[in-house]
Symmetry: C2
Subunit: 403 residues, 2 copies
């Protein structure tokens, strides 16, 4: 069960972006598993992709096709990863089919896949799914697409935002699918944000990087990085001033407008993390650099012993110390470290706090959402990430997935 | 249930080393939780300790007292970690009590603790336990001591070896306790090896490092590093030639004699890993350096998705690819990577092997012991580590420990 995952709110259509979904029968039965996104003329796409050495075929193809773009094709159930030359040919075959249907060039169509690694994609099924999804497409297709890209997600995750950039109205809607094999960088497997703002290709690329850095690159579920992680920003160019470069007021306004949207998508991804029963924010401050704050935060978030203590609601704060201690930080002085659970001081200067009452810490950890705050006592840097716990359900899902 | 953990075999007494155990009531009821080891005159102790920034009080004290030594005091149930100045004073108080009883100086007594982090040690209980353990001590006390140092271990783990060094008979017995919060460097929480060989302090220290590098630093259960990990070599100097330095034939002969003993202790630690249902050997070869082989091996071994697939016996080999891909190896070319499960070729040059039959891979992964072999195709280096799976039982143990 996800942790306080909000239901889908109203998803705003974005001018110049149509979405359709269909059941291609790639792996799942009785549900949509393929989505197409059709972009109007003049659209651009920026993106960031997995840092894995094993980049899936669609990641390789899509990352070569950033810039001017007219469509995306996304399937769930099969990641088309570790599939070599044939995988690349399969990814290209899907995009050339969609391109021909739309009368655009193949290089303007980007492929995305998520699901099982190491199996070949059924291209015939993809083609039929593409045809059906194209027939179903509309600017109101965000929810159907968000459902079609799910794998072990328990619910679709999509959010809209609107506001003004240099006085012009701008709309944006984004969707994401998790929900295991989730950590930076990238963190989401697949996330798509569409806006009617007007961006150059380079501005779209920078915007994708800036937004990922503030959202998807700050969450972790199980510390695993997928072969397929992708986040793309699609800009249809139907509204607002032309933003040519990743600087200036208009770029900054758009980035600030979209940041809460991607943070919300990232948080929903954690709330729907595999087997998650808790949503935990980890704040590490007092570090010398952002990098060392993140190192400590991720070491805490990835520790199986911390994650099981969180699952149990056990304020076994020694496990937090253990994790902080094994983070790769040079000359960390444990005698300067403070630890709080929400507002409850747990450790001060490396020792249990004078006024520590275990019942108070237990009450915090019994909640389904709380904040672990670590102060390193050696600088001014601060970072925040989000994570979930390690439950029986995580083991069940991942022991049974594929079976 | 541990994975094919052998029962205790005959434990050889080691001349000049006596052990005693007692129930001090530190945390557990109805079982021994404290051990003393008394070393004859002329004994030396070498050791290696956790790399955690949060070094427990006994680690700090013991690491300052390597060299000539006369006794060890070891307790389970409380790690005396994250306990600051009071923790140091408590560790010293236990050793000074034992030193006074033996008529030796406090600096010749080393403290070791394992258990819950962040709570103060009951020094009165320690003193009473020390008295009782001293009264019970004998050269036949290895098994009782191995039982007393257990925490979540399901069985005591101890092994003996004997052989010749420069023609002289040498004996050794070692014991170890796991069984979560286990990874290099160090990996064991606590391991103790006693031999009647004759070593200088510096040779003992080098021997501890050499042996740890071949055994405890090659295993991982959950990727967590404890605040208390310690491995010490105790040499009573009752047999064999005097080995003054970590070189020469006698040193090499002793190292080779003891290596199988510590490897066996390390393997038993994994077999008794928390919630372990599988014992998995991971071999990574074809790397440019040992370090990159280890990076790949540990990334595989720590991946929750790999560990749950191993638990399920599911030959979802894409998860191995995913883990190899996210290992931090520069310019790794997935198209050169091969993967085998025991003798079954799974992937060749980054792709599923031509003759791959999933039933064969499934048959391997259904076994309770098997080898995952990765060939990186870029060099001559090779490394081997041992790990276990991630089961419901791991979650249960760690969600309930302390409760």
């Amino acid at each position: 069960m996800p942790v306080n995952l909000p239901p889908l709110g109203e998803l705003l259509p974005v001018d110049g972006i149509e979405l359709g979904a269909a059941a291609a029968g790639i792996r799942y039965r009785g549900r949509d598993d393929l989505a197409v996104v059709v972009l109007g003329e003049g659209s651009v796409v920026g993106g960031v992709f997995t840092t894995s050495s094993y980049r899936a075929a669609p990641v390789i193809v899509a990352s070569e096709r950033l810039g001017k773009a007219r469509a995306l094709v996304i399937n769930s159930g099969n990641a088309n990863a570790a599939t070599g030359e044939r995988g690349l040919a399969d990814a290209r075959a899907s995009t050339s089919h969609l391109a021909a249907k739309l009368g655009v060039t193949e290089n303007e169509v980007l492929p995305f896949s998520t699901g099982v690694i190491g199996e070949f994609l059924d291209v015939d099924a993809m083609r039929q799914g593409i045809d059906a999804a194209l027939a179903a497409r509309s600017e109101r297709g965000w929810e159907a697409a968000a459902r079609a890209i799910m794998t072990t997600d328990t619910a679709p995750k999509a959010v809209s935002a609107h506001g003004r950039v240099q006085g012009a109205r701008i709309r944006a809607t984004g969707m994401v699918k998790g929900s295991g094999m989730i950590r930076p960088d990238m963190a989401t497997m697949l996330a798509f944000l569409g806006t009617d703002a007007t961006l150059s290709a380079s501005a779209a690329r920078s915007l994708a990087q800036d937004l990922a850095e503030r959202s998807f690159n700050r969450l972790t579920i199980d510390g695993d990085t997928s072969t397929n992680d992708s986040f793309v920003v699609m800009a249809s160019g139907r509204a607002g001033p032309t933003i040519d470069a990743p600087r200036g007021e208009a770029y900054a306004e758009l980035r600030e407008l979209l940041t809460p949207l991607v943070v919300e998508l990232a948080e929903r991804t954690v709330r729907d993390g595999e087997g998650a029963t808790k949503f935990v924010t980890i704040v590490v401050d007092g570090g010398r650099t952002a990098a060392e704050c993140l190192e400590v935060a991720y070491t805490i978030a990835h520790s199986p012993l911390v994650k099981t203590a969180i699952f149990a609601g056990d304020p076994n704060w020694g496990r937090f110390c253990m994790a902080i201690g094994r983070a790769n930080i040079e000359n960390l002085d444990p005698d300067l470290v403070n630890l709080d659970l929400d507002q409850v001081p747990v450790a001060r200067n490396g020792l249990v706090a004078d006024d520590y009452v275990e019942e108070q810490a237990a009450a915090v950890m019994a909640k389904d959402e709380f904040t672990v705050r670590v102060h390193l006592g050696r600088g001014q840097a601060s970072e925040t990430i989000w994570t979930s716990d390690l439950s029986y359900e995580y083991v069940r899902i991942n022991a049974e997935y594929r079976s």
